[in-house]
Every structure is written in C-alpha cells, then in structure tokens.
Point group: C3
Chain length 318, copies 3
C-alpha cells in the first residue's frame, strides 16, 4: 500500500519502539510484505533464512529482529518482533473501520452504473461507469472497479488474504497478517455469482480487462490475472500467482500459489497446477501435464494386464 504522504523513519522507530541502524533521516512512502516491495517501502523480516533477501530487496526501511549490516541509504529498524511491529503500522495507516451503512459515503459510483439491493459497498470503493452490481454483492474497502464491469449476485470482492504467521513457541498456532491491499478490476470484466476475490496482503489483486469469470470461483490475494482470460465454474487460484493473458481454465481447475501460467495456456477441467506452466499449450491432470501425454498415459495403463500376461505367462486376478 502507498502511504498518503512520506513518513519519517524517526517517527516510525518511535511508534514501534525500534532502534535505528543506517539512515536515520529517510522517509517511507509505502508498506509492503516482502513479495511486493518497491523503493520507499517499509518491509519486515523475522526469519534468518530471509534476512539477506529482505535487506537487499527494493525496500528502503526494513523492520528486523537482528543487528545487521545496513546498505547505504537504507534504514534498519530493530525490534524484538518485526511481525507485530509491521501489524501495528498496518493497523495505524489502514485501520479496520466498519461501516454501519450498506454504502459508505466515501465510496464513488460512476455514471449509469446500477447497484442492485442488499449489497455492501465499503469505504473508499471506486466503481466506474456502466457497471451492473447484482444483489447481495459485497465490495470491501479500497477496492477499485473499472467501467462496464458486471458482478453477479452474492460475490465478495476484497475479502482478507488467507495469510498467517505460524507461531510454534508452545503449540502451533497462526497469527493473522492483516490485509491492507486492494482488489483492482479492470474494464469489461464479468465476475459470476458467489465468487470470492481476496485483496492483496499489501499490494493489489488484479483482474485484467475483458476477463470473464464464472460462478463460485476463488481468486487468492495478490494474484494477477491477465486480459481476456476465461475461468469456468469453481476454479480456484491461490495467492500471489500470475495468470497471463488469454488463459482458459475449465471447471474446478486449481492453481497453486506464487507461480505463473503462461499466455494462452488451456487447462482442462479438474486439472491442478502445482508449478508454473508454459503458455500456448493444453494441459490435463493433477498434477497437470501436457494433455496429449496424459491421454497416452491412460492408454498405457490399460495395457499393463497384457504385459503381465506375456511376462508372467498367465492372467492376474483383476
């Protein structure tokens, strides 16, 4: 997320009770978790495995639980629990502020857009022109909807990311990473009924122009969907994944997190992608492989009894 105005690192250090290392006169212009950092951002790191990655990322201000070498121009803010410090900042700059009304006064709705009854439109939501928002739709704070967008009944835009910090001090439990990102839906997108599109943890979940999404589809946080994609019913896409333009996902396809599905790829129904897939090809199966290879596998499996009989000299019980 972008901050409304640059914030001095001195103020941040005092606010979260941190010791400053490196540049004490800098200013932060945004807050982001490590997958999304840009220059000017505050990021946090609490695991030795990621210290180097975070310190050498684009982030300008790094909240960390260890004294480390600080690159020029950057600022380390040293605290005992960087995750809690990060949450404190998120909650300060983007506090949860529940609306008591179905439509927040700070939302804006464009020319000739129709909002059907019983929906909810949160704080600072922007809806463009010529949209149809069907009944019982929920659009949560800060989400941005383009022009000529149709959102069918019961859909939720901007639900929180499914993103937790695992704690194992005594027992395993999970601490919620509060989401401060947005959902951005571009022009001419259509989203079916009872879908869910999570906001980014700190960045944007994006649905590219012209993409059409069927019912009961789930799109995870920070996922970026290209232009003119087609997703059939009950497709699920996990967080921080990139789906390039013109991808077609048939019914009940699942795509795992932090991977890329290349331009124009087609996944047949119920396929599952645990890893990135090249564009321009057709896939099937879980895990998804080239669809023709998968079809051949089915044929080969049927030939095992014949092999058995030849090798063993007798039939096996089926």
């Amino acid at each position: 997320m972008r901050l409304d105005k640059p914030v001095p690192v001195q103020w941040i250090a005092e606010f979260i009770g941190a010791e400053i290392e490196g540049n004490a006169n800098g200013r932060a212009t945004g807050i982001n978790e490590i997958h999304k950092v840009e220059q000017g951002d505050i990021a946090f790191v609490d695991h030795p495995k990621y210290y180097d990655t975070c310190i050498n990322s684009a982030a300008t201000v790094i909240i960390i639980n260890k004294d480390a070498d600080c690159p020029d121009e950057k600022t380390l803010l040293i605290v005992d629990d960087p995750f809690e410090a990060y949450l404190k900042l998120v909650n300060h700059f983007r506090p949860f502020s529940p609306s008591s009304k179905s439509r927040s006064d700070s939302s804006s709705i464009g020319r000739d857009s129709v909002i059907m009854p019983n929906g909810f439109i949160g704080n600072h939501v922007v809806i463009g022109n010529d949209c149809i928002i069907h009944p019982n739709v929920t659009i949560l704070d800060h989400c941005v909807i383009g022009n000529n967008v149709i959102i069918q009944a019961g859909t939720v835009i901007g639900s929180d990311a499914f993103y937790y910090n695992k704690k194992t001090n005594r027992d395993i439990h999970y601490k919620k990473m509060n989401s401060c990102g947005r959902v951005v839906i571009e022009d001419h997108v259509e989203i079916g009924a009872n879908c869910t599109i999570d906001r980014g943890v700190s960045g944007d979940t994006v649905i590219g122009a012209g993409t059409k999404i069927d019912n009961l589809v789930h799109i995870g946080h920070d996922t970026e969907i290209g232009k003119n994609c087609l997703f059939a019913g009950q497709v699920g896409i996990a967080g921080s994944t990139k789906i390039e333009d013109n991808v077609i996902l048939w019914g009940q396809v699942g795509v795992s997190k932090t991977l890329t599905i290349g331009k124009g790829a087609v996944l047949y129904a119920q396929s599952g992608a645990p890893a990135s897939l090249e564009g321009g090809k057709t896939y099937f199966g879980s895990p998804a492989v080239d669809a023709r290879e998968k079809m051949k596998e089915f044929v080969w499996i049927k030939r095992i009894p014949q092999l058995w009989e030849k090798v063993m000299g007798k039939k096996a019980e089926g």
Copy 2:
C-alpha cells in the same frame, strides 16, 4: 423465451435493419439460441459451419449473414452481424430492468411461503406455496419456484449464463450473450447454501421435482436436472447438460457441458464426466469410467515394479 404476442417478421426486419428472404408475412412467437429452438422461434447463425443446421432447425425466422436458399414458410433475415441483431431483439423484448427494492411488485409469493430477511426477489418471479427462502438468497427476474421448495441461505437463482461470443478481429475478446431464459425449480426441491443456478440463455434451466442439492453447487445455464437426484457439496454441472432422474453425484463431481448422464447413474466423489454416461452404473475418476474398472487400474499400477523386476532382472529406483 416466448414472446408475449406474435411479432410480424416485417417489424423485426425493420427493427434490426435486415433484408427479408422467403416468407415476408410470417410472425415469430419466440426467441432462442440454436440449442433450444422451437417452431415459431427467431434464431441466429453467423458461422458458415452452422448455416445448414440453423436453416433446417425448427426455427421459423433465421437471422443470418449470408444470402441462402430459404425453405418454404421460413424467413431469412439477412444482416451483417447476426449476433448483434439477436442481442438487440433480446434487449428489446426482455430488457434488464433493475429493481431498487428487495422484492419486486411484479413477483408473486404463494400461501404459507416464508421469505427470510435480506433476500432479493426480482421482477416477475413466481414462488409457490409452503416454500422456505432463507436469508440472503437472490432470485432474479422471471424465475419460477414450485411448492414445498427450500432454498438455503446465500444461494443465487437465475444468474446470467456464462456464454460469450468469441471475437478475434484484432485480439481475442468475448462479447456477452445476454441471458433471457429462466430457472424453473419444481416441487419438493431443496437447494443448499451459497449455490448458484444460472438461467437459460434463452430457454429454461430446470431442477426436477424432489431433487436435493447440497451447498456450494453450481448448475450451468439450460441444464436440465431430472427428478429425485442427489448432488453433494461443491458439485459443478456445466451448461446445456441433461441429468436424468435418480442420478447421484457425490462431492466435488464435475460434469461437462451438452452431455447426458443416464437415469440412476452414480458418480463417486471428485469424478469428472467429460462425455455422456449410461444410466444404472457407478463411475469414478477424472475422466470418469466404470468404478470397478478404475479400482482395478489402481491395482495394476501397483504391480508395475514387480513386472519391471521380472523383465529387467533388477529393481528400479522408486
């Protein structure tokens, strides 16, 4: 969809700017896309591959982008873009008319039916007697609900078909085919929570009497479900498919479009039907095959290492 009264082809031709070929004195009594046409219907065709099918269908009035031989008694209406002409007619005869109220005055609700709070009931919706419509349910225009029907919370009845006209002139993109059909739910049906049932593109999506549907189930446009079927949670059925009576689909089953699942067929959980299946049998797998055959396949796959050792004279690395 049926038209309220017969409409002269002369008027239609003028309205969409078409040249008339064949019977100039006919009247149209309905509008349908090619999968659903009945006598009296207006249909459209814009691809040479389907010219003959459409001209020789039951349709009485054919909107087409080519001069062709016109069978006796029929009317061809020749335009540059039949799809746009068809949309113009749909939008004229069944315009999208948003309700600003949660329950439209033109809807009708039968004796002893209970409508729980925060739902939406659209224009011309008919609900029978002794129904329970739970909270936050959306029932969109023209849908018809029988007697003794239960619809659980959050379900959407009559969302638009996921049906687009692919345009490839410059870039791939998709033009929405506006849905003017209905959902018809017969007596003693129960539909679970947060389900979605799409309306027909121009005909009816039908849920047969006595059928019970669990939560988060998706039923596509123009699909016809028989009587006394059972669908467990998260089942998805694509458009224009026919499910005959007494079919049982266990959890997360997917059924593809425009096919038939025969009477009394049972599909085990997570099965996927890419093609029609005979009734009276039990299926498993994706793609779904006879369940016993599938179980045998699992056994055969486990025997491959034994075959390998016999043939190769040594064990393979697993």
Copy 3:
C-alpha cells in the same frame, strides 16, 4: 439437542401415538439421531439392520417400529413410522421460527464485536467478544460463536444438514430430516468468504479454537474440526467426520463422511479422502495415499512404454 427440561415418556408416547414397552416412568433429557446419542436421549430406528445398535446405544428412549426386548431402565416407544414420530418431536421442541428482522431479539452479541451491514442473525444466536462479522453473513438459529472470531462476507453458518430418509415405497424419493443441532465456533477461528457450515442434525458441528478456513469451504453437519487446522480454498468436508488438531488441507481437498483424519495430517491440493487417514503423514491423490508413494506411481507409469518395448520387442503406438 438438549431439552429445556426433562420430558416424561408418558407425554411423548401420547404425543406421537406410541405404545410403551419397558420403563413407563422415565424422562427424556435430549433428542438425537443415532450417531450422536447420549444417556437420556430419545433416538429412533426404523431398519431391522440397526435395531440392536440403537437399542443397545446410550439412548434411553427408543422410537421403533417393532416389538422388541427392552433393556432395563430403557423405554421403547412403538409406532408405525419412527422417522415421522422423531420429526414430530423435533418440530415440537425446536420449531422453525422465521425471523422477520435481520437480527433476532433473542440473539446476544458480546463486547466490542462488530456486525457489518446486511447480515442475518437468527434466534438464540450467541456471539462472543471482539468478533468481526463481515457483510452479508447469515448465522442461523442457536449457533454459538466464541471470542475473537472473524467471519468473512457472504458466509452461512448453520445451514441445514444434507440428510434425508430414502423412501422407496413406489418410487425413490427423499424425506428431509429436519436439523435441530447447532454450529459451535470456538475462539480465534477465522472463516473465509462465502463458506457454508451446516448445523448438526441433532448434535453440534464444531470448529476448534484457532482453526483458519479460507474461502468457499464447505463443512458438513456434525463434523468436528480440531484446533489450529488450516483449510485452503474450496475444501469440502462431508458430514459426521472428525478432523483432529493441526491438520492442513490444501485447496479443493475433499473428505468423505464419518471418518477421521489424524492429528497433523497434511493433504495436498485436490486430494480426496474416502477413508480415515493416520495423523502425522502427508497424502496426495484421489483416493489419497502417502504422497511419496503417489509420486513414485507417476514415475512407474512413465516406465510402462520402456517395459512394453523390452517385452514385446517393439514400440507400441502411443
């Protein structure tokens, strides 16, 4: 379900028109279907296959359609149709009473809990402290929500069980078993958007403390989820299943009914569990097996063509 006060079996016998066998002076303290009975309960049985199980269960009062030996201290109530008699009792002691308001006066909401607009909170619902209930959420009668619980938009808590009595007298059809159980959500649980959690048929569906559930997840009736579990998007769990603590289910996993998933088990995305699984292991596939075994199977399948060539002395067509 527990009855508000003990009810004499004499009254029950008269109310359902039953003949009394055994203890005519007992009192019932609860009503439960056979999977959930406790001492003091009324249960019913109508199939010879289950007579002994039911009579020898913890139930104190058994509604049955046959004269049978009655154990000491118990009461048999003999009627023609035990299922209908059971339903009559359920409907008497827990009648369906629709609210006309979005929030029932008999519900209670704790300190600092936020209820966002357009939700529904039914009769006798109890919500603890510091909860956030997002817009368009439906919480039905008698459900209990702990402290620090987050329920995201569009979710339905307490929908009816998918549970029917199959009737085959003339034709197959299904008679609804009315649900009188509850959903109990413990502290620090988070439930995603557009999920559905069914109430128990007569007992409780329980979500254990600290468990985090992503969007579009379905949890069946009477299912008990342990503490600190993680369920990713579109997971489906059927009825009366037990998921122990710290179980992780990745996206689109399906778990069948009446089984147990052991503590700390992990199921990879799209896996399906048709039978119980031991804790502490990682599983994959449908049906789910040890994940490493499944991975080896994929390797072995790829070796079939090599075996074929060796055995048959030639390549096969793919």
